[in-house]
Structure formats: C-alpha cells, structure tokens
C-alpha cells in the first residue's frame, strides 16, 4: 500500500557507498491520480530539502527496481511507472542529509494527451500539480 501523500515517508533515508560514506539520500514519490505514467510522459522539476533544490542532473529515478537518468526516460514510451508503486528518487549529495528534521517537497507530474496544453517541462511558476490535488507534496520528515 502507498501513503496518501505525494511525497512518501517510507524509503526516506541516506545512501552510502562501500566505504560507508554518505553520498546522498533517497525519497519516494507517488502519482495522486487515477493512472500511472509512461516514463516518456514523466516530468520532473526538483526535490527540495530545507530550501535547497536538487534538479534532474543530480537525481536518478528508480521504477520497479530499475534506475534511469531523466534523459533516459524521454524515449521510454512503453515502460510504465505503475500507479500502485512509489518511484524512488536517488539524489547525489555528499555527506547526505543531517540527522533530524527536514522539510521535503517534490515537484513532478505527467503529460496527459487528453488535457489541453503542450507537453513541455513543468511550469514552476504554478503551484498546481496538474490535475492532482496539491496535498502532501511537502512533508516534515526525519532522517535517523
């Protein structure tokens, strides 16, 4: 089962290399809508933690266990991000996130051919997440 919110609490933790050094963190997101997204229709702006934005060049995206760069998703019109699955975003950040409280948000969406408008990147001047309710795209979360 998923959590209602767009940003998922489960899965939120630091990532380490073989030497035990924190190299970044990961956080899950889900689509608060009624269908999954073909990866070619996935749109991502950033993950934001405590005011710092991590954009696609610092992130990779894990769907059904397979990791993709943002550019790799552009041509994947027959690979689905299933509606019942959280996408894990892995973020490069040397040292990871500090232990304790963080404000975490994410801005992302999917292109829908049946809704008017172009299929470009997310308009960051708008706060709306497409046709999803803007609930739970910012959460207070703790790194242990």
């Amino acid at each position: 089962m998923l959590e209602y919110e767009g940003v998922q609490y489960k899965g939120f933790r630091n990532l380490y290399n073989e030497d035990g050094e924190a190299i970044g963190f990961q956080v899950g997101i889900r689509l608060i809508t009624y269908r999954g997204a073909w990866l070619s229709q996935f749109r991502f702006a950033y993950v934001e933690v405590d005011g710092e934005k991590y954009r696609a060049d610092r992130c990779t995206f894990v769907v059904s266990g397979v990791e993709y760069t943002y550019e790799e998703t552009f041509t994947l019109g027959r690979v689905k991000w299933p509606l019942d699955e959280a996408m894990i975003i892995r973020v490069k950040k040397p040292g990871g996130l500090s232990q304790g409280n963080h404000t975490v948000s994410a801005l992302y969406g999917e292109v829908a051919s049946y809704i008017p408008g172009d299929a470009g990147e997310i308009d960051e001047t708008r706060t709306s997440h497409g046709h999803s309710e803007a609930i739970g795209f910012t959460r207070e979360m703790i790194i242990v």
């Binding site: 089962m1 998923l2 959590e3 209602y4 608060i32 809508t33 009624y34 269908r35 999954g36 073909w38 070619s40 229709q41 552009f74 041509t75 019109g77 689905k80 299933p82 509606l83 019942d84 292109v111 829908a112 051919s113 049946y114 809704i115 008017p116 299929a119 309710e133 609930i135």
Partner: protein, 291 residues
C-alpha cells in the same frame, strides 16, 4: 453482449470514484464489496490504474480478476483507456503508434469481459477537439473492435456540449462507416447547470450547458454514461445536474445501458466523504429508476 443482456437502465460505478484512495486504503476487492453493498453491478475500470502490471497483466492477476468478478457479481462494462498523442517530446504520435496502443487495449478489454471502452483521444485545443488523425486511427481499429466485440466510445465531457460540431463529426463518421463499434459515453457533467458548492463555475456552465433533451438524437449511439455527481445532498439529491429530467428522457426513449457513477466533487481525499457521496448517489439512482 453481457452488459446489454437485460433491457433497461442499470447501475454501476467507475473506479474513478476511488482514485486518490485506491492503493492507499482500498484495493480491487474492497471496491467490489462496496458495489455489491449498493447492488450496483456494472463496472468501469481505468485500466491503467487498476490492472496490475498494465498493459501486460500476469495470468495470475487475470485469474484473480475473473474470480472476483464472479464472486461479487460484477459485470465488466467499460474499460477506460487512453490513446496517447503526446507520448514523446516534440512530436505527435503517428497513426501506427496510436493503433498499437488501441489494438492492445481492445484485445485486453475483450479478454477481461468488457463490452465497451472509454476511448480517450488526445486533444489539440481547449475545446477538447481530438487529434486530426482520429478518423484514420478509429477506422483502422474498427475491424479489431468488431472481431473482439467491444465498442469504442469517446467520452463527451464538459466543456464539450452535445450540440457541438465535434459531436456532429462523430455522428457523421458512425453513419458513414455504418458501424456499431464506435459510439459515445456522455458524461453528465455536460448538463451541469448549478455551481458545485465551494467551487468556481466550470467552463461548460459559463458557455451554457447541454440541455437534457439534447441527448435524445444521440441515444442510439450511447452504450453507457458517466453518471457524474459533484454534490449529493443529505436528502439524496444531486444539486448541480438535472438528473430527474435526464433519467426520465432516457427511460421514455427506452434507452438500454449502464449509468456509471463518477464522483468529481470536492474532498476526494476523505474516505468517509467519498463513501457517503457514492451511497447517496445510488439511493437517488434507485429511486429515479424505480428499483
């Protein structure tokens, strides 16, 4: 066709009603239990969000599907799917790419027991005009729809009105092709003539909504409808859509098919609210249909 076995108007539910809650605190079996409680046997699924592993479900999942439909007396009516025109950056999908999606969905819908499809085409403007290649795509898909015995139906959705040119184009196409495998799903939101409490007026309302009688010439092409509801009152009245007039017209003209509940009102994040609204909706429908 199973969905058309008994004449008359039947009740059903679209899984759209549950969408923010599905996979969070309910699953397929839960939604079937709710339908059984209400005696609403007709089902619309949004295939992509409901079929585990879509578009290639496992045999195990399909076996579970058939067992659940059987156990809960569910009639698969409409398979909601999309023909994606904006699949790739910078260009529109070709006829071949569109057909590949569509034919796969026709076969899967048929296998799962559905008799209709809500075929959502890509649009090119704010009036929801479909992509310019729609005739070519649908014409080439018709032999598959016929072979697999499912009817493709665009959804006529606000702000589109039943008197718009787009509808005339669809009717002309159906008559020219002389086909029973392309029709409409009329979404009752096109009739909305009162505002939803707490919301701005919808675009269709501002442009003058469809009138209940506008549906009469289209009835032969309609196999099921989205019985849209935005606000069910405590005394079981939908306060924004003229249901009494619409249902009476459909009954008088002997329309056969399913009315599929589709909740598009506020507070969709509240399980209690959504369950209250859908049960109120079916109290109203039962009364209007004389069940």
């Amino acid at each position: 066709m199973q969905a058309q076995q008994k004449p008359g108007i039947h009740r059903g539910v679209s899984t759209y009603c549950w969408y923010p809650l599905y996979n969070v605190n309910m699953d397929l079996e839960d939604s079937f239990m709710i339908m059984q409680d209400m005696g609403a046997h007709g089902l619309e699924i949004l295939a992509d969000g409901i079929i585990k592993g879509y578009p290639y479900p496992s045999k195990e999942w399909l076996n579970k599907w058939f067992a659940l439909c059987d156990h809960y007396e569910i009639v698969p009516v409409e398979y909601g799917h999309w023909v994606e025109s904006k699949l790739f950056r910078g260009r529109e999908s070709t006829v071949e790419e569109s057909l590949e999606q569509l034919i796969h969905d026709i076969k899967l819908a048929s296998y799962m027991g559905f008799t209709c499809m809500r075929t959502k085409l890509g649009v090119i403007d704010g009036k929801l005009t479909p992509t310019l290649i729609w005739r070519d795509v649908i014409r080439k898909a018709l032999p598959y729809a016929e072979k697999y015995n499912v009817v493709m139906q665009p959804e006529i959705h606000s702000p589109t009105r039943l008197t718009d040119q787009m509808i005339m184009d669809y009717v002309e196409f159906i008559e020219k092709e002389d086909t029973q495998f392309f029709g409409f799903n009329v979404d009752f939101g096109t009739f909305q003539n009162k505002p939803t409490p707490g919301r701005e007026l919808p675009p269709g309302f501002k442009m003058n909504p469809s009138l209940p009688e506008d549906i009469i010439p289209l009835l032969p092409y309609i196999h099921c409808c989205h019985a849209k509801y935005y606000n069910m009152s405590e005394d079981f009245d939908e306060t924004t859509i003229p249901y009494v007039e619409i249902i009476n017209i459909m009954k008088e003209h002997g329309w056969n098919g399913y009315l599929l509940s589709e909740y598009e009102g506020p507070n969709k994040e509240s399980y209690n609210h959504c369950m209250t609204q859908v049960r109120r909706h079916h109290v109203m429908l039962k009364r209007l249909l004389g069940e």
